[in-house]
Amino acid sequence: MKIVKYAAAGSLAAAALLPTGAALAAWEINMPVGVTELSRDIHGLHMMIFWICVLIAIAVFGMMIYSIVKFRHSQGAVPATFDHSTKAEIVWTIIPVAILVGMAIPAAATLVKIEDTRDSTLTIKVTGYQWKWHYDYLDQKVSFFSTLSRDSDAARQTGSGIDPNSVENYLLSVDKPLVVPVGAKVRVLLTSNDVIHAWWVPAFGMKKDAIPGFVNELWFRADEPGTYRGQCAELCGRDHAFMPVVVEVKPQAEYDSWLAEQQGGAAPAAAQAQTVENAAPATAAAAE
């Protein structure tokens, strides 16, 4: 009964939300465009390959469907006897190679851009833990843990009886989000304190593994203020689904006052002390 009710409510909600393109992307079928240059480039690549695949599919499936419809035994089709054609085979080897080269060139150009982490204005070290993220603003002496928000955590317990639809941003909200200034090139250093995690914000177009003993890099520059949500993307144990990534992109002035608050308040100092203790093994491992 509950399920039926839910299904009805869900489809109604979906119908209501679709035209407005609301945050609740029900029935969403494509990759979001994102708010960084990289994510837009990646989205462009994605759409390009998709349409190339569609064109190839139309040609190949069209040929298959034509053959299936036209050459039916039940319609008295008489089979031909040819069994090869060197010319055709050369053609359909060379054309795909050309298409692939055409795909590879823009992909390589984007890849080079992705790997260029120079000239960043802010460096944040992100450490994965089972099952939360730790953010460390290396030059600003600010660091804190970011864990699943309490209302999501209560609702996600097996048999909690709480309807996930009643929780705002269910499983995608945290107690303390990462805060970065808009328009700044942020370099993220990734590592882990236990198992492998992956830090991913779809709107930034980037995902990278956080691996114990390694420091990985990625960068993003968000063009619009807002709250962007993602998740851990590498299986990391029981609560893998419950360690979201939330990034608040603020105008520079708001970011500055947020930072001053973090640096000045008493609470962050205590948090920091705890942090340093916890992060020590990861730092040691990363140092190798």
């Binding site: 969403e28 079928i29 990646i42 053959s67 299936i68 035994h73 996930p164 491992a285």
Partner: protein, 531 residues
Amino acid sequence: MAHAHDAHAAHDHHDDHGPAKGIGRWLFATNHKDIGTLYMLFSLLMFFVGGTMALVIRAELFQPGMQLVDPMFFNQMTTMHALIMIFGAVMPAFVGLANWMIPLQVGAPDMALPRMNNFSFWILPFAFTMLIGTLFVPGGAPAGGWTMYPPLSQQTGEAFPMLIFAVHLMGASSIMGAINVIVTIMNMRAPGMSLLKMPIFVWTWLITAYLLIAVMPVLAGAVTMLLTDHYFGTTFFEAAGGGDPVMFQHIFWFFGHPEVYIMILPAFGIVSEIIPTFSRKPLFGYDAMVYATASIAFLSFIVWAHHMFTVGMPLAGQMFFMLATMLIAVPTGVKVFNWTATMFKGSISFEPPMLFAISFLFLFTIGGFSGLMLAIVPADFQYHDTYFVVAHFHYVLVPGAVFSLMAAAYYWLPKWTGHMYNMKLAKAHFWLSTIFVNVLFFPQHFLGLAGMPRRIPDYSTQFADWNMISSIGAFGFGLSQLLFVYVIVACIRGGEKASDKVWDSGRPHGLEWTLSSPPPYHSFETAPEVK
């Protein structure tokens, strides 16, 4: 022992004798047909065990929120589902087909190494008893994914050594099976059957067998290192001791990527047998098919890191693996084009094997397209570890490998049993499977693109709708497979007598169709001549 003696006596005196009586026929089986049957029935059983686990997964994912299972148990289900489907369902099914069909297709009396054949099968029930037994030990079954990435897999409880030894046993079984295939094909072909006259299924299996021999020991090495890291103080993969967790991924995927082709090359062979039969036209570009298969096999060894683009590789490494991966599209494309060209200007009829082969053609190609998209590294940074990947590999494995197996079963079942099966039910099974497999897996593309990670037991409400559709498809697909079992069982028990050629298409070509249906217990005791 008695049976071995019998077989020996039969060999000396050339008197025809039937199978042994009772359970001994199966326990001490050395006949390739009996062992083939055992393999395939075992794989059917595992298909349902793994499928049940998939339904647990899809039931939990039907709605957001945790309703049915603990997240840990969910992870156990995803891990076990993969291990059982790969090593228990798909691989043994192909080995079973190899056992049944390779001797019949090359005109050999049996597999070259019948006792090893028995051994390689009977290892499997023990391996899977141990693997499935992990569900009942403290700490539960392995839950770190079938890829067993450390350090997570090192957190497995009592199940850990059982998992490792089960993998070792499966590997040993596969290697023995592969050796048997190679030795049979290389030494026991009928006079006149040169390599380039072999049926294409035999060719694909020959190449698959080499892949197996090349990579199963690599997997064995990788899991052995996990074991010594766990119990003997080594630190191959532990950063704290100077090891490297990423090295495991490189070793694992050096096995893992060829493994993917181990599961699809014989499927190519099956489809290449079926399409010409029901198009009443020879296979287009036989030589090109063989070379394409060999190229795919070669390329499979140099693309492994595309499974791990997000681990942080040097730019040059990412470029190389992107280009090498894209290159695979070329020989794969040649195959798809050749199948299409085989149907072109043919005279096509739509018996159940052909229906499944056509469905394979369309849906495997869709899986190929998403594979091409995944090869593009920047785009992969978005796709990686999302449901888009889940959709991709299920498209190549379910309507790919599994549909080819169903096609093979419907193609050769009358040959094996001597009975025709119920065509109406088989066609119903086809339509239900094809419709539900798309309801099940197509929405997973959307989920992945919209940002849903894989291997999660619960998700944000924005993913609710497509997950519900996908789960409905899963239950539809799962239940439809009961029809498959019914058709097979009914066909074994009786039915209209099948002719030697079975299919009235003028083709099929191949030595197996020169035998009676069912073939005698010992076939081709005198080798046939191949012109």
